[in-house]
């Protein structure tokens, strides 16, 4: 089951640079939330604060609260490992581990966290995760071949399977289809729609049709000018936001792209 996220007054920094300002947003459970906005407006930056990946960058930090089912991820006695296990992430460029087979890639999260699984448990998990990522039928006969020997679209689905295998409650995706052809993109969009039954999904996309096609909620980020922090301009149900935006800025951005 997915869990909802509550972002309250979040400010995000890269050292002295204030990247994103004062975001407050509710991410609904078992729904797809799309984040759109022009390049450089901080979509990726914001997304990475949701599973505390932002702080991996040297000197980067954020203030404010992110609540997962009421628990602040930035609270004092929160274990970073637990946060990232519960909130999985899929990157723009498919990044399966090159030294591992398809099977080992799916199990990588478990193994990296020192968990032991019996052979049958592992087999079941691999099948379940690959089924979930809609890749099982294509790779069931070559589970031991290297993960990077797959096509780009298959690699991206392998990365989704790797994230899914951790049984997260939230899945974050940063432009998961931007490096893929239209067919693979559709396959992944279908998959995402399927996945929302079990997970809460937040997806960053450059493609507004994609946001309109598959998301339930949409947030629009924008940046005022160079060096200024960007902010969340509007957040609403996707239909509302696209058909009847409340803000002039949103309207301009959407019509500029659709017009």
């Amino acid at each position: 089951m997915g869990q909802g996220l509550e972002v309250i007054n979040e400010n995000i920094y890269y050292g002295a640079f204030h990247a994103v300002e004062n975001v407050t947003m509710s991410i609904h459970k078992n729904a797809i939330t799309a984040l759109i906005g022009p390049s450089g407006c901080g979509k990726s930056t914001f997304l990475r604060t949701l599973n505390r990946m932002h702080e991996v960058t040297p000197k980067a930090y954020c203030t404010g609260e992110v609540l997962l089912d009421g628990v602040n991820l930035y609270g004092k006695d929160i274990n970073l490992v637990d946060v990232r296990r519960q909130i999985g992430m899929v990157f723009q460029k498919a990044n399966p581990f090159p030294t591992m087979s398809i099977r080992d890639n799916v199990l990588a999260g478990i193994r990296l966290n020192h968990k032991r699984l019996s052979k049958t448990e592992a087999d079941d998990l691999v099948e379940w995760a690959l089924q979930g990522a809609n890749l099982w039928n294509e790779v069931r006969d070559k589970l031991s071949s290297p993960g990077i020997a797959l096509s780009g679209g298959q690699q991206q689905r392998l990365c989704i399977a790797r994230a899914v295998a951790m049984h997260p409650s939230v899945l974050l995706m940063d432009e998961p289809t931007s490096a893929l052809d239209p067919i693979s993109t559709l396959a992944i969009e279908d998959l995402i729609t399927e996945l929302k039954k079990e997970f809460t999904i937040v997806i960053v996309t450059h493609n507004m049709q994609q946001a309109a096609r598959c998301s339930d909620y949409t947030g629009f980020f924008n940046v005022q000018g160079n060096g200024k922090p960007s902010h969340l301009v509007e957040f609403n149900q996707t239909e509302q936001l696209f058909s009847n935006p409340l803000q002039r800025e949103t309207d301009d951005y959407i019509s500029g792209h659709f017009g």
């Binding site: 991996v56 990232r84 990157f91 990044n95 581990f97 090159p98 990588a108 990296l112 966290n113 020192h114």
Partner: protein, 314 residues
């Protein structure tokens, strides 16, 4: 005029470009051959000179009780084993130090003052003349264990002073080329930094690190000067790194060469196992051949590993 120029000039320039292209190709090929010439000459002379004495007997006997050019002719076993022991010890010392320094530089120090300083020191260290490293190791051990402390371990320390900078640099390079994406993927799965470094970063760069280390070994295995000072030489096979002098191949070659021709009486020359005046040069060449074979072997293994197991070839 204008039109004429337009038509003719591309043709002329095409011809002249083709001409230049040919000239360049010939130049490049001949330069490459020129660069290969010394290597071929060295291999050829080592093989042709070295093969006289290079046989099973030579490889399996030491120099104990060998007198002049007389029978028994002696062998190189003491030097082979010494070289192996000293080099392996030097590797065991330098790889952990070099690898951990490289990990610190790439994964932990994000261009701070300390890493700049280490980087500078590594550059300086890689310029240390090998004989100075030998003298230093000798002086260091003499200081602690009394004057005249010469053994295999002192030699290994001298060699590791020469090896460490190479190992640091090659490990750094190998860690650097592991894509950021993989580290992030690992963090995003909840892995800790140390787990990520061990299971993802080191695992991906392992082939490169191994072949880098093998090439570093190949570079120091022929070092003569530091071992001449720090390990010396001895006629019998000494397998104790910490007690007494220990022979090595390069020092063996040097000693044989330095002793020069043997004196042989007419009757000794006519014996069943004749006295051979030039035997020391023969031994020097044969030992040199052993050394070159070991270096070639290390190079081949290094290349094979980096080729066969590198990630891009999977």
């Amino acid at each position: 005029m204008q039109r004429n120029g337009l038509i003719t000039s591309p043709i002329r320039s095409l011809r002249s470009r083709q001409y230049h292209d040919h000239a360049m190709t010939i130049l490049i090929y001949s330069t490459a051959c020129l660069a290969l010439l010394p290597l071929i000459a060295i291999l050829w002379s080592t093989i042709s000179h070295g093969s006289t004495r290079f046989d099973w007997y030579f490889l399996t006997h030491n120099m104990k009780g060998v007198v002049g050019g007389l029978y028994p002719y002696g062998g190189v076993l003491n030097a082979i084993l010494g070289t192996l022991l000293i080099t392996i010890t030097a590797t065991l010392i330098s790889v952990p130090i070099g690898l951990f320094t490289a990990i610190y530089m790439v994964e932990y120090a994000h261009g701070g003052v300390i890493s700049t300083m280490i980087s500078f020191l590594v550059d300086v260290m890689s310029g240390i003349p090998s004989i100075v490293a030998g003298l230093f190791a000798y002086a260091l051990f003499s200081f602690f264990f009394g004057p005249g402390c010469i053994n295999g371990f002192v030699g290994a320390v001298a060699l590791s002073i020469l090896m460490i900078p190479t190992v640091i640099r090659s490990c750094e390079q190998m860690l650097d080329i592991v894509p950021r994406d993989l580290r992030e993927a690992s963090y995003a799965l909840g892995a800790t930094k140390s787990r990520t470094i061990i299971n993802i970063v080191l695992r991906s760069s392992l082939p490169g690190i191994v072949s880098g280390v093998l090439l570093a070994i190949a570079r120091v295995i022929g070092e003569t000067a530091p071992l001449l000072i720090a390990s010396g030489s001895v006629s019998f096979t000494n397998l104790n790194l910490f007690n007494g002098r220990m022979s090595s191949l390069p020092v063996y070659v040097y000693n044989q060469y330095a002793e020069g021709m043997a004196v042989c009486s007419a009757s000794a020359r006519a014996a069943v196992h004749p006295c051979i005046p030039g035997i020391r040069m023969e031994r020097a060449w044969a030992a040199a051949l052993v050394l070159i074979l070991i270096v070639l072997f290390l190079n081949l293994i290094g290349r094979f590993i980096s080729h066969r197991f590198s990630v891009s070839h999977l």
